[in-house]
Amino acid sequence: MPDQRSIWERTYNRKGFVAISALTALTAACGSDDDGDSAAGGTTTETTKELGGTLHYYNWADYVNPKTYPAFTTATGVKIKKDFFVSNEDLQAKLQGGARGYDLAAPTGYMVKILAEADLLEPIDWAKIPNATKNIDPKFKGLPFDPNDEWSVAKDWGTTGFVYRTDLVKEKPVSWRDFYDLATGPYSKKVTVLDGAPEVIGSTLVMLGHSYNSEDESELEQAKQEMLKLKPHLLAITSTEYKQMAIAGRAVLSLGWNGDGAAVAAKKPAEYIVAEEGGEFWVDSYVIPTGSKNPDAAHAWIDYVYDPAHNAVETEFTYYGSPVKRDLLKPVIDPEVFNNTDVFPEPSTIEKLEANAISPKGTKLRDRIWTEFKAA
């Protein structure tokens, strides 16, 4: 198998996932008990540490199975307080802005690097997370944004592509070029893109045959021109509402993430596509922000979710790939999810993707383009 390390960097702004239902489900589920998942086979470790205290979890919304919270509390006695952010930059702005007291967060890889360099993270003590040490797929260790695994432990991974309603779109788009052509053509005003400069600019760059992370001004200028042509045909720029819009049929083409795509496909006839030309590949990781009041609880959570049975529960909810070894997951996870290539893309799919590794110069150039794009 080819060395996939370079692909494991990622970049992008990931914003939360959908659903009212998530939040209401969250509130509903907080009262209910989890139906005991069968832990047949696999290496199930008992998390018997009775810790008490509170875990303050700052996370993407709709990113944890609501059942996991009470289950964790039952297992460890730790109560959970949740706050949600909508983008990595939100998280960064808050932490840089002096917010202290979060015990656990789950930013995307490139943000892990930024936060680590800004001294906003506390080190991970792998001795406290035996489950992770044992069950993590070695591919997810030593990732480029954290080569010594000092600051982060992988949470899940995914791709950036687009989802389209197969019943409302006659054609079968397979590339970014298709996406653009259909958006500026027959499906004008029924298209959304993510509210993220790296994703939209990156995907356009890739369509033109350049690198997702390019900082070449002429290449970026080309991408900008394409984007400006696309702008008048957009229904909205959103990272949080496109799932809903796609399900409602108001949007038929949406630039987005694989998990959301799979979620739409589960409800309506739709397909998530990783574009032919390429796209982005990302990993989200657990980190412990500076100023954490209960790092032990944070470690306990990581350990808890690295139990394959618990991880399966997570993956079945979020539809994002799990970093736990595949063979450990197999016995405990819903086979449909396990075999869903949107959730667990094939290596061949991943090969053509890049991870976010945009330099400060690249970021500044992209900001400018993004402003122009939005102001158009």
Binding site: S87, A93, I114, K189, L235, A236, T363, W370, K374, A375
Partner: protein, 287 residues
């Protein structure tokens, strides 16, 4: 200590203003001051801010792209002010002159604003949705076409703006109109003025101060509005407020964001100083 006589209530010593002034100095001017410092700093790497005095940010801002954004913001603020004035003035007039139970009616204007601003604005998204009763009805009776949709459009932003800023215009207008002596208007008409002329010559001058306050209360905050364009406009348009928020939340270029903010603050300060000088003169020479 407290002296006597003079218009304007009993005389109280100026040092009573000290606590308030100190609070402003510390928690308002302080922040703005630091913002000013940031606007002449620059970003280094991904997160650091370096304080060497440089006007680079402002130079970067001097560009048709950003000029467009400011122009568009000015346009929105002007539209909002004009629209709330057009909608709010007849309303305030009716309330002040003809209505009974004025306090109740006035309260009824404010009550909707005790729900959260966010919820009110999101509700407009529902009302304007093509799948909701309003537009389904309009489509059924043929007033609007099949594909007509207002959500995530400029028009939706305008509706949201007028909705949320209306009370800010109505309240000062009402306050000014309420103090009017309507017999003056009647007298003018008795003396031969047509209603509109009476309005122009009698009512308008007396109402002007309230009108100006209303305009200021709407115009200035509107220049920084950014949630309504995001929620109702699908985040498809950039105004000054969005630009600033973007720099801080997404682009992480705080110095640049600070520079944009300084421009907005500068424009605002000029307007306010002009207004307070005017108002002070009014107070002195009667009004």
């Amino acid at each position: 200590m407290a002296g006597r006589s003079g218009v304007g209530g009993p005389r109280y010593p100026a040092w009573l203003a000290l606590p308030g002034a100190a609070w402003y100095a510390l928690f308002f001017l302080g922040p703005l001051g630091i913002m000013a410092v940031f606007s002449v700093s620059r970003r280094e790497g991904y997160t650091d801010v370096v304080y060497d005095f440089s006007l680079e940010n402002f130079r970067y801002l001097w560009d048709p792209l950003y000029g467009d954004v400011f122009l568009r913001t000015f346009g929105l603020a002007t539209f909002g002010t004009a629209a709330t004035l057009l909608v709010g003035f007849p309303f305030a007039y009716y309330l002040a002159r003809y209505a009974r139970r004025k306090t109740l009616l006035l309260l009824l204007v404010i009550v909707p604003f005790w729900t959260s601003f966010l919820i009110r604005t999101y509700s407009w998204l529902i009302i304007l949705s093509p799948d909701f009763v309003l537009f389904r009805f309009l489509r059924d009776i043929g007033v609007t076409g099949e594909d007509f949709s207002l959500i995530y459009t400029r028009e939706a932003i305008y509706i949201g703006v007028v909705y949320n800023y209306l009370p800010l215009m109505v309240l000062p207008l009402y306050a000014a109109l309420e103090r009017m002596d309507w017999t003056l208007v009647d007298a003018a008409q008795d003396l031969g003025d047509r209603p509109l002329t009476a309005f122009r010559r009698v009512t308008l001058p007396l109402v002007l101060p309230g009108l100006i306050v209303g305009c200021l209360l709407v115009f200035i905050p509107l220049t920084g509005e950014y949630l309504i364009p995001v929620i109702l406009g699908g985040d498809l348009t950039v105004f000054a407020g969005n630009l600033i928020a973007q720099q801080f939340l997404t682009a992480r270029d705080w110095p640049f964001g600070a520079a944009i903010a300084m421009v907005v603050i500068g424009a605002m300060t000029v307007m306010i100083l002009a207004f307070t000088r005017l108002a002070a003169r009014e107070e002195q020479y009667g009004g």
